[in-house]
């Protein structure tokens, strides 16, 4: 036990410092709100941590919060998975065949700078149901980071590995499957992590504008209904969900790429 502590001293310190930092954050939040501090920024209407915890207990008790969270997660999962399933193979093909790259790249470059939020009106027109349009916006948000990082990974495949595989009798297809694809995986996972972040940003915006359910809608509705503690509750939920989903991707990355010591 002592030896273990000695070996993990740096990690233990990180965990401890992290806990202290979080505690300080909540403590200053508590003081700023209970004493209704106001110096240009007004904390008068901001709920205290205790109030937020109360509304958390209430919202979990009657099941509304869980319902919103589940719906948001489902939208994220659908949009993100569709984006992955399309963007990764497309990026791999574009990276391997110049023709595909020359055809697709200009279109993607024109569409890429448009923020997912700007797609909201168009999306509502395009898709028959609200649900589909929200999933579509989530999809658009995560699509480009995944595509670009896959392309980047393909462009940086070490040519000596390709040559080595050719000398070992690899066919075109197996060079693609056994060299280009695994060599691009770290970059693909970077794209997935970034894409997941953008997916949440896009989802929350879409839910605030056109949603009927979901954690973004919950947060915005709390503002309209003057349920100030629910605003903070919604925000914290979004933060935790974002954190959890990127941790999930990192976890999958570790399983898929056991040769990477740390990602």
């Amino acid at each position: 036990m002592v030896a273990w502590l000695a070996l993990h001293r740096a990690e233990m310190r990180s965990v401890l410092l992290g806990a202290i930092s979080l505690a300080l954050f909540i403590l200053s939040w508590h003081f700023l709100t209970t004493y209704r501090v106001s110096f240009h920024v007004r904390f008068a209407n901001v709920p205290t941590p205790a109030q937020v915890f109360e509304s958390f207990v209430r919202a979990t008790h009657n099941g509304t919060l869980l319902h919103h969270v589940v719906l948001s997660c489902r939208r994220i999962a659908m949009g993100f998975i569709i984006a992955t399933v399309i963007a990764v193979p497309l990026g791999l093909v574009m990276g391997r065949f110049r023709f595909a790259r020359d055809v697709v790249f200009p279109v993607s470059e024109v569409l890429r700078p448009i923020p997912a939020i700007a797609w909201v009106p168009m999306s509502i027109m395009l898709w028959p149901s609200n649900e589909e349009s929200i999933v579509f916006i989530t999809f658009i948000g995560s699509f480009f980071p995944i595509l670009l990082n896959t392309l980047h990974g393909m462009a940086n495949v070490d040519p000596v590995l390709v040559r080595a595989s050719q000398c070992l009798g690899a066919s075109e297809f197996s060079i693609f499957r056994d060299v280009y694809f695994p060599a691009s995986l770290p970059s693909i996972f970077t794209g997935l992590t970034v894409g997941m972040g953008v997916a949440w940003v896009s989802l929350i915006a879409a839910e605030m504008i056109s949603g009927q359910f979901g954690i973004g809608y919950f947060t915005w509705e709390a503002y309209s209904l003057v349920q100030y503690s629910d605003i903070a509750l919604g925000m914290i939920c979004i933060g935790i969900l974002g954190l959890g989903s990127s941790a999930l991707i990192r976890g999958i990355g570790r399983i898929v790429m056991p040769w990477k010591k740390s990602t």
Binding site: A164, C167, G169, S174, W259
Partner: protein, 291 residues
Amino acid sequence: MSELAAAASDKGRIEVSHFGLSYDSLDGPVEAVTEADIVVEPGEFVSIIGPSGCGKSTLLNAVAGFLKPTRGNVLVDDEPVSRPSADRGMVFQQYSLFPWKTVRENVEFGLKMKGMERSRRETAARTLLGLAGLLAFENHYPDRLSGGMKQRVGIVRALATGPKVLLLDEPFGALDAQTRIIMQQILTNMWQRLKISVLFVTHDIDEAIFLSDRVYCMTARPGTIKAEINIPLARPRHQAMMMSSEFLALRRGLMSLISEESLKAMGGEINDDALQGLTIDTHGHTLSDML
């Protein structure tokens, strides 16, 4: 192993004749190699040595099938080389193990490409790794290995498919001096067991002499074969031989051939006249003294 040796013993003749390779640049075609002739007899260990940029790697890459000659022929067992194949195993200067495969999976790769079933190729890879003293590392990923071990795995991987010839492109260039000597010893040992033809590219004179039956010496660009030297040292060879008078005589001979070419490769004729007008402080020495 004996199967591999038997299969390789009567095959693997490399014949490069009237070889020339040029590429296009904005200033017109550039001649990298011209009129090069090389023969490697079955089971022979042959090195190509020359200053950097002389086209020795170009020549090797043409034998591997990565580059097409502009002129002349590259034949292996009387078949013209058209593309890379598992018949010609190659070891690169840069570490070229697949980082996402374990040591054993790396060695198995060529066998997998041949369609050998899992259990058989696993056994084959284990046998080879055992001979190279690497069995303990079979489940390690390459980034946990030292440079010398990586190159040993690289050699084992190239040999696993039972190629007719083994091509090595400065494989020990990135290793420290001690490791390099050990690697040279390991390579000669493996070569003697397998009786495989080897074409070895290096700029290290000691390495070329220690390993080879014959050494081709190349000129500076455009590269061509300047001399062919037989290395009559007895086999098996040991490190101690590197101090023998025979070895040192060969070394002197090759050294004088090479240094002439290296000077040329460094940019035209370097002489005292070329120094005039340059702001190099030679402290009263001539440049040729300093070099």
